[in-house]
C-alpha cells in the first residue's frame, strides 16, 4: 500500500526529481568524495607520499589532547561562540522589531544599509581599523576619558578581550541578521494584526502575541544553523586581533592549531582537529534539532 503511494507520487512529480539531480551530484562530488581525505587524520601524513603515508592510529588525537593548553582553547572557543550566537540572534531581532515600527521609509532604508556595510568588509581590514580605534590612546578611549572613565585595554586585557571579540563580531554581523528578520516580518499576515486591533490590543500586545510568535520559526531555524558553528569562534577575527598577553582567554582552537602545526604544514593534526570539530558540531546540531522539535514543534522536514 505504502509502496504504491510512493510510486504514484514519483510518477506525478518526476520532473522535480530530475531537477534535483545536478544538485545531488554536485553535493556528492564536492562534499562526500573529499570525506575520503579524513583518513590522513590517522596517518603520519607526508604530502609527498599522499594517502600512502604510514598509519599512526589515534596518535594525532592523543598528541593534541595531551597539549596542556589545548583544553583551555576548547573552553575559550565555546565561551566566545556561545555568546556570539546568543548576541547574534538577540540584537538583530530587536533591531528588526524596532525598525519595523518606523514609518519613515527613507530613514528605515538608510539605517538598514548603513548597518549592513560592515558585513561586507573582511576581518583583515576591520582588524586594522579596530586596532587603531581600540588602542590605549585610540578614539574610543579618548571618548571614554571625556566621561571620566580611565583607559581600557580592549585588546590587551585578558578579562575584556573575549567581550571585545563578541561585541565587535555582533556589530559586524547584525546588519545581515536584521535584513533576514525584516523579511520574515513582512511575511506576517496583516489580518492577524487587524483582528488584534479589533480586540483592543495595543502596539506592545501585538508585538508580544503576534510578531514574536510568528518570528519564532525563523529564530529557531537560525539558531539551529548556528549550532553547527559552536566550535568556530571566528579564526580571521581572533587571529588578526589577538596577542600573547590574551592567549589565556582569547586563544581559540583554530588559532592554537594554526600555531601548532598548520604554519609548518602539519596537515594530519589539522585534519584531526577538523574531524573533532565536525563530530562535536554534528552532535550539537542533531541535539538542537531534536530539542527544537520537542519544545518548539519545529521541523525542517
Amino acid at each position: 500500500m505504502k509502496k504504491k503511494r510512493i510510486w504514484a507520487k514519483l510518477k506525478n512529480q518526476w520532473q522535480f526529481h530530475v531537477m534535483l539531480i545536478p544538485g545531488i551530484v554536485a553535493l556528492f562530488i564536492f562534499s562526500y568524495i573529499p570525506l575520503y581525505g579524513l583518513i590522513i587524520a590517522f596517518q603520519k601524513y607526508n604530502p609527498a607520499m599522499g594517502f600512502r603515508s604510514p598509519w599512526v592510529g589515534l596518535r594525532n588525537f592523543t598528541y593534541l589532547f595531551g597539549q596542556p593548553n589545548f583544553v583551555r582553547t576548547i573552553w575559550n572557543t565555546f565561551y566566545i561562540a556561545v555568546f556570539k550566537i546568543i548576541g547574534g540572534i538577540l540584537v538583530p531581532v530587536t533591531v528588526a522589531l524596532l525598525l519595523n515600527e518606523i514609518k519613515n521609509k527613507t530613514f528605515k532604508r538608510l539605517f538598514q544599509t548603513l548597518v549592513y556595510i560592515p558585513h561586507f568588509l573582511s576581518w583583515v581590514i576591520l582588524a586594522g581599523v579596530l586596532m587603531d580605534l581600540l588602542s590605549i590612546d585610540g578614539l574610543v578611549n579618548q571618548i571614554l576619558s571625556w566621561i571620566g572613565i580611565s583607559p581600557v585595554n580592549f585588546l590587551g586585557d585578558p578579562g575584556i578581550f573575549p567581550w571585545t571579540m563578541i561585541l565587535t563580531d555582533i556589530w559586524k554581523g547584525f546588519g545581515f541578521g536584521t535584513v533576514v528578520y525584516l523579511a520574515a516580518l513582512t511575511g506576517i499576515d496583516p489580518g492577524l494584526y487587524e483582528a488584534a486591533i479589533m480586540d483592543g490590543a495595543g502596539r506592545w500586545k501585538q508585538t508580544v502575541y503576534i510578531t514574536i510568535p510568528m518570528l519564532m520559526p525563523t529564530i529557531v531555524l537560525m539558531m539551529i544553523l548556528s549550532m553547527g558553528n559552536i566550535l568556530n569562534a571566528g579564526f580571521d577575527q581572533v587571529y588578526n586581533l589577538y596577542s600573547p598577553i590574551v592567549y589565556q582567554t582569547g586563544d581559540i582552537i583554530d588559532t592554537y592549531v594554526y600555531r601548532l602545526g598548520v604554519e609548518q604544514a602539519q596537515y594530519a593534526v589539522g585534519t584531526a582537529v577538523g574531524l573533532f570539530k565536525s563530530v562535536v558540531s554534528g552532535i550539537l546540531l542533531t541535539l538542537s534539532y531534536y530539542l527544537a522539535d520537542r519544545f518548539a514543534g519545529y521541523r525542517v522536514f
Binding site: Q67, I245, E263
Partner: protein
Amino acid sequence: MKKRALACLMAGVLILGSVGCGGSAPQGNEAEQTTEETGQEENARNETELTEDSASEPKEVDWRTPYEETVTLTVAMESVAFEFADGDDLTNNIWTRDYREKLNVEVVTDWISDEYDTKLNLAIASGDLPDVFTVDNVQLTQLMEAGLIADLTDVYETFASERLKEIEGGEPEVLATARKDGRLYAIPSLYAGYQPNLLWLRQDWMKELGKEFPKTVDELEDILTGMKGLSQGGYSFSTPQDLSSLYGLAPAWGAYPEIWVKGEDGNIVYGAVAPEMKEAVSAWAGWYQEGILKKDFATMNSDAVKEEVVAGNAGAETYGSWWGWSEGIDMVKNLGEEAYFVPCELPTVSGEKALYPMKFLNERYIVVNRDCANPEAVIKLIDWYVYISNDALEDMDQKEIELHTANNMAHVTKPFTVNNPKDDYSRYAMIAQARDTGDRSAMKTAIAVECYDGAMRWMEDKDPDGVGYALQFGMKGCGMDVLTGVIDDDRVARSELQGASPQTLLDYGSTLDDILLEGFTKIIMGTEDIDYFDTLIQQWYAAGGQDATDAVNEMYNS
C-alpha cells in the same frame, strides 16, 4: 600529470631511438607535439650528448660551456617587488637573457606566488612539481623520504664552480643537512651573513642628553629614562608583542632566549628557560613599571612598532644591521635628517663585552625534480649567480653588474640563488678601506661599489634613499662596523643545535615558545610577579619542553 608522464615516456623512447640510430632522431612524425614536449625532447638529447662528453673527458668540464641545444627548466618563485627595466618582465630580463645567451638555458616560470609555501605544499601533495624550486627543511625531509627529488651528488661534483664549492664547503653543518645516506639531495641557499641584533639608539636624542654609548645595563637605563622625556609617545624602548626587541637585548644579562645553550651540568638546555632569563625578565618588568616600555606594547605587531618609530615616538630598540633600510629611510623623510638611529654593541650587566647568539641560519634549499632531464643545468645557473655576485668585476664593468643586482633584481634569480655568508664582512672591509684611504680600487666586487656610492649619497648629499647603505655599510660606526668588531673578537655564542631540528621539536610548532611568550609578557606587564617565572618554566617542561630538550640532547650531545 598524464601529459607529463606521456612526455617522459616519449623522451625515453627518443633517447633509446637516438642512441640506436646514431643520433638521427626522427623529426617528421612529431609535428603535433606541444612546446613542453619539444623542450623535453631536446633536454633528453642534450643529456645523451653530455653523458657522451663526460665519458670521454670526465674531469675537464667547464660550467661555462653553453649547451648546443636550448635546455628548458621550469621553476617556481615567491613574489618579490621586482623593479624591471623598461620593457623587461619576469620572463625577459637581464638574468633570463644571460641564461639564454651565456648558457643557452631557457628558464620558464611555472608559477609565482606570494603564498609560496602554501602553494608549494599543494604542489607537493598533487605531485605536479616544477623542475627547480626551493624548500624549507621540513619539506626537504618529506621530499627526500618520498624520493621525489634528484640526487645531485655527481652533478654537483662535476659542475659546481670552485667558488660555489668554497662557499658551500665553508658551511659543513649546513651541507650535512642536505644529505641523506651520504648522497646530496639539495643545494643550501645559505644566508646573507651572520647578523645578530645590535642596540640602536636615536642619535639626535643621545646628543641632546649628552650621553655616550652605554657599556652597562645601568647606563642604558639612564639613557632610556632620559629619552622618555624627549619622546612624544612618553616611552623610549620599543618592542613588538613577540618581544623580539627585548629578546635581542637579553645577552646583556647573559640570557639567550632563542638558541640552545650548554648548561652547567653539560646538558643542552633551551636558552629561554635558563636562570639568566629570570633576571632579564625581571629587569624588563621594572622598565614597564617606569614607563620605558609602551603601556600597550603587548598588542602591537611589528608594523605598528615601525609606525611608532617612524613617527618619533621611540628612541631605542634592538635590530639587525639593516635597520636603515626598514625604518631609517622613512624616518629621515618624515622627521628630518638628524632623526635616525645609530647602532652600538649591547651593554652588559657587568660592563664586559657581550656575547652574541647564533642560530642555525640556513633556511632554504634548492632542490631539483626527480624527473628533470638536466639537473646539471641547475648547477650551472647557480654558478652563474655566484660568479656575478662574487667575481664578475674581474671581467665586467660596474654598471653592467649593478643592472643585475640593483632594484631587487637579484631576487629574480630565485631559485638559483646561493648567498655567500662571508660576503657582508669582506664587503665592509673593502668599503672601510676605500672610505679611509680614498682609494676606490680597494673594492673588488660590484656590490661593494654599489654600497659605497649609495652611502656617499647620504653622507655627502643627504639623500634619504642612501640611509640604508650608510647605516649598514658606509659610515664609521655603521652596523657592519660594529659587527666586524664582534667577529674579530669571536664573541659569538653558537646554538648547540647546528643543523636539522629533531622531529619532536618540529611537532610542537611554535606552541612551546608561545607558552614562554605569554608568561613573560604577563610578568613584564605586572599581572604576575617574578616568582611566576619558576612555575612557568615547570609548565614549559611539562607541556613538551622536556621531550624537546631530550630529543635535542640525544641528537647533539652524544
